[in-house]
């Protein structure tokens, strides 16, 4: 049966995540390599990949509401912030200025997602009434209102310019702040975080895949492609838009909780308009509406600064000879990539990958 990609022997196979053994083994190899990575790579690369995983989770979240359900959301960063602060309050240490309950990670991680989802549901009655650009603009307002609240809700956020520490890394009652020894194995905090993020990322990814291969995901896509037809097929638009927002926020909240645990602290100024827009751009560059797109986008976003440095090194271009500094160069190229992908490959990196894969599937017989 191998080599005939669209031939399924039964319906269960067809609807499963990996329709053949080749895909399954590739996934296994990739997971194994990812786990091994944290023992082989330097702290720098571990941090970079950890960040990629978390951005991918947030990207998937945005992809559910924007890519699948077609509802433009420019305020994803606010939901990430809600998750970050929920986890900081539940898992963080109380000080004279901020509250914190120092609970275990098994509480703060899921609750961060739930808190963000609840906020998503609270604003749902407003967001589901609007479509297209008006929705985009309301979410834009949310960004400003959200960051205003973050800045002023001092007992939770510490206040603008001051910030607060986030949740402590404590799992099943074991404090992992200083790393952990399991037998002869010693894991540093950053390695633990890497593995936690990797695991969360895998589950988040599988969740999205599950979504698109079942009822809710199909309903979201239907709303995106034609809301009138979708309604005529018995899809409750209100409920599905709201659930898309809630799921999206849930992902954002989870990502936010872990993201700021990695950086150690969170300051309200982080959740600016640019922050939210970055996620929109990541989803667009990766491939909106696709399962793997946000992961590609996240990897691209975190790795391309390293790539730029690599190229500068290869062509022996000194940083000082550039008209822009590195940070600006990155931003410039980022902007350019958004434009180029939208014009030339609206399906983003996923589109490129898709074509490459099809090419190699048929290799060496080109059509």
């Amino acid at each position: 049966m191998r080599g005939r990609p669209n031939l399924y022997t039964d319906y269960q196979k067809e609807s499963s995540i990996f329709s053949n053994n080749t895909q399954k083994s590739w996934f296994g190899i990739l997971v194994t390599l990812s786990v091994a990575f944290c023992f082989l790579a330097s702290d720098y690369w571990i941090l970079l990949l950890t960040t990629s995983f978390l951005i991918a989770i947030a990207g998937w979240g945005l992809n559910i509401v924007s890519g699948l359900a077609g509802q433009i959301n420019l305020a994803h960063g606010v939901f990430i912030g809600v998750g970050a602060y929920a986890s900081a309050v539940i898992g963080g240490v109380a000080t004279s200025s901020v509250i914190g309950f120092e609970l275990d990670m098994i509480f703060w991680l899921p609750l961060a997602g739930v808190a963000a989802a609840i906020v998503g549901l609270i604003i749902a009655p407003i967001t589901v009434k609007l479509k297209g650009l008006n929705l985009a603009l309301v979410t834009l307002a949310l960004v400003f209102i959200g960051s205003h609240l973050f800045s002023n809700f001092k007992s939770v956020t510490g206040g603008a310019g001051l910030g607060r520490k986030v949740a402590t890394l404590k799992l099943f009652g074991v404090n992992l702040e200083r790393g952990i020894e399991i037998g002869t194995l010693y894991l540093q905090k950053n390695q633990i975080l890497y593995l936690v993020c990797l695991l969360t990322c895998i589950f988040a990814g599988l969740g999205v895949k599950n979504l698109v291969r079942s009822k809710a995901g199909r309903a979201y896509s239907a709303i995106r492609d034609g809301d009138i037809a979708a309604e005529a097929l018995g899809i409750n638009i209100f409920r599905h838009k709201a659930s898309a927002f809630a799921l999206s926020s849930f992902y954002g909240g989870i990502s936010g909780a872990l993201f700021f645990t990695v950086s150690g602290g969170v300051e309200p100024g982080t959740f600016s308009l640019l922050y939210s827009i970055t996620f929109v751009a990541i989803v667009v560059i990766g491939g909106a509406g696709t399962v793997l797109g946000p992961l590609f986008g996240a990897l691209f976003y975190t790795l391309f600064p390293a790539l730029i440095q690599f190229f500068l090194h290869i062509f022996e271009i000194g940083e000082s000879s550039l008209p822009l500094n590195l940070g600006q160069l990155e931003r410039l190229l980022f902007g350019l990539f958004i434009i180029l992908f939208l014009i030339f490959e609206p399906r983003g990196l996923w589109g490129i990958w898709f074509r490459l894969r099809n090419y190699f599937k048929a290799w060496p017989f080109s059509y």
Binding site: I126, L130, L137, V138, V284, F334, L336, L342, I343
Partner: protein
């Protein structure tokens, strides 16, 4: 009372600035159904060009202002030609995100030029008499504010004459009404799109100058002021020019009154809206208005067709 008038003057001058940016938004939206997030970037780029000509190159200010405005208009035209033209017929969301990309592009280049020290416009306003202000019955009106008000009024008048009388203006109105019918009438729609972006660029450059003129200076954060025109447009309705003006007045006055009265009011009611409230107040107003009127105060309602 004088303080109230002072706050009103400040608010109206902000309104004038916002309306310049807002009209640009509306023109582009009416013609192409594109929401351009690049408008604030065009405004600060305009200011940057003026500053670089007038201060760095030593060109007389008025000439620099003229050149800056025209060059920004041409920049708008070029952006439409290179980036927007290939996107005709794509979903609105894609185009909106594309303009975010343009915004990042423009501002990155500008930011690298600005650096960390704020830039001056080299305008004559700060050095006029009493540091650039005239006192009318106790109310201080900065020359810069006065200029912004007058410029906005003149430009709005010129634009309305242009739309009513000139060949291109009428063609633009036709295009915004029905693109295909306009094409059938022999109107070069592509040229109209270019023209719209050019006008939007010119308006933005004026706004950019008034935002950064005088002591306000051009810094990497100046664009946030121009971005506040967005709630103005939304409040008025995306496709209504009078709406844009009314929206701008609402936003400008809100900001002016909040800046002057928030602390007094808070100490009166004993409740704090929080720091930086004057900056979010416009967005809160926009949020509330959109809940009740999803198409803004003056926008046309969309009719669904199956």
């Amino acid at each position: 009372m004088i303080i109230f008038l002072q706050a009103t003057v400040e608010g109206l001058s902000l309104a004038a600035i916002y309306s310049l940016v807002a009209i640009g938004f509306v023109l582009i939206y009416k013609a192409m159904e594109v929401l351009s997030f690049a408008q604030p970037a065009l405004a600060v780029v305009g200011a940057g060009i003026i500053s670089s000509l007038a201060v760095d190159r030593g060109i007389p200010f008025w000439l620099a202002l003229f050149l800056g405005v025209i060059l920004t208009g041409i920049l708008g035209l070029l952006i439409e030609r290179t980036f927007l033209r290939p996107m005709v017929g794509e979903p609105v969301f894609s185009v909106a995100v594309l303009t975010i990309g343009i915004d990042i592009l423009l501002r990155t280049v500008l930011d690298s030029w600005i650096g960390i020290n704020p830039k001056y416009m080299g305008d004559p306003f700060p050095t006029f008499g009493n540091f650039g202000a005239v006192n009318i019955g106790g109310v201080n009106i900065k020359y810069l504010e006065l200029a912004a008000l007058i410029t906005a009024i003149i430009l709005i008048i010129i634009l309305s004459i242009f739309f009513r009388k000139s060949k291109y203006g009428i063609a633009m109105r036709a295009t915004s009404y029905d693109q295909e019918a306009a094409m059938a009438q022999g109107i070069n729609v592509g040229r109209i799109f270019g023209l719209v972006w050019m006008i939007a660029g010119i308006l933005a450059a004026f706004a950019g100058f008034f935002i950064t003129g005088g002591f306000n200076t051009l810094s990497q954060f100046s664009f946030i002021s121009a971005l506040r025109a967005l709630p103005a447009v939304v409040i008025g309705g995306l496709d209504s020019i009078p709406g844009a003006v009314v929206g701008s007045v609402i936003i400008g006055l809100t900001q002016g009154y909040v800046a002057y009265y928030q602390l007094t009011f808070e100490s009166f009611v004993g409740f704090s809206f929080g720091n930086g409230f004057s900056v979010v107040a416009p967005y809160i107003i926009m949020f509330v208005i959109l809940i009740f009127k999803p198409d803004g105060l003056f926008g046309t309602e969309e009719v669904e067709r199956v």
